[in-house]
Symmetry: C2
Subunit: 140 residues, 2 copies
């Protein structure tokens, strides 16, 4: 698993620094859960906030993680599937956002039916967010 992390960093052309290993480990352990900068700050104790932001940006640029739009206002990130590359993210799945515990998870969703946009508009990506209560919060 330690090797897994090293390999991932290597494959995505990222230097193996302590914080990167730590952050990536947290993402791997989170298993499809989207994490905010704050979540990670709390998991690691006292990482430099700025360095963390930059780590997240690098990870995203190199195709290791993707932003999970969830309507909560703050950015969240989740581990990409294996086939994301530096140049193009392939994370077309929807995200579920629990309004009670504020957790966001990636859903396994197939391709969506296309939506009509006005003449002349170009669609590059789309995000689908489902909002409601997760299992834990729905059944207290």
């Amino acid at each position: 698993m330690q090797e897994d992390i090293m390999e991932k960093l290597d494959k995505h052309d990222l230097r193996k620094t302590i914080i990167r290993k730590d952050v990536l480990k947290i993402f791997v352990q989170a298993e499809g859960k989207a994490l905010s900068s704050k979540d990670i700050e709390q998991a690691l104790e006292n990482p430099d906030r700025i360095t963390l932001y930059r780590t997240l940006r690098s990870f995203e640029e190199k195709g290791l993680i993707h932003q999970a739009v969830d309507g909560s206002g703050t950015s969240k990130y989740a581990l990409c599937s294996e086939d994301c590359t530096v140049h193009e993210h392939q994370d077309d799945h929807a995200h579920f956002h629990c309004t009670k515990c504020e957790q966001t998870i990636c859903l396994e969703t197939g391709p969506r039916s296309p939506v009509n946009v006005p003449e002349g508009y170009i669609v590059r990506r789309s995000y689908l967010v489902l909002e409601g209560l997760c299992r834990r919060c729905a059944n207290p």
Copy 2:
């Protein structure tokens, strides 16, 4: 039109103060375009920033405007359709977000096919965001 605005405020149980009339007028004129707090600040000259935030919150609570999730990070709002009530928003349409000019518009979209969520999860609302270039930015 002035009467229209007064009526809307009345119907939604909001006091008719100067800033509320002004802000609502801007939303009516924006015609389906989603506006950020900043957009409105610029349209009105020097409104109190805090009061504006509170105005937007009241409008949303009373079902006059709805948040338009667009993945841009900052909150945007657009006028609700007539049948939104205080208790339940009905704005199920998608939003288009132009990554160049940062404008967001409401799209007229029909009902979407439901997405599978894990056992026990409850979906209350969903947001669909299309991201790309608007007509103006796509054809320079």
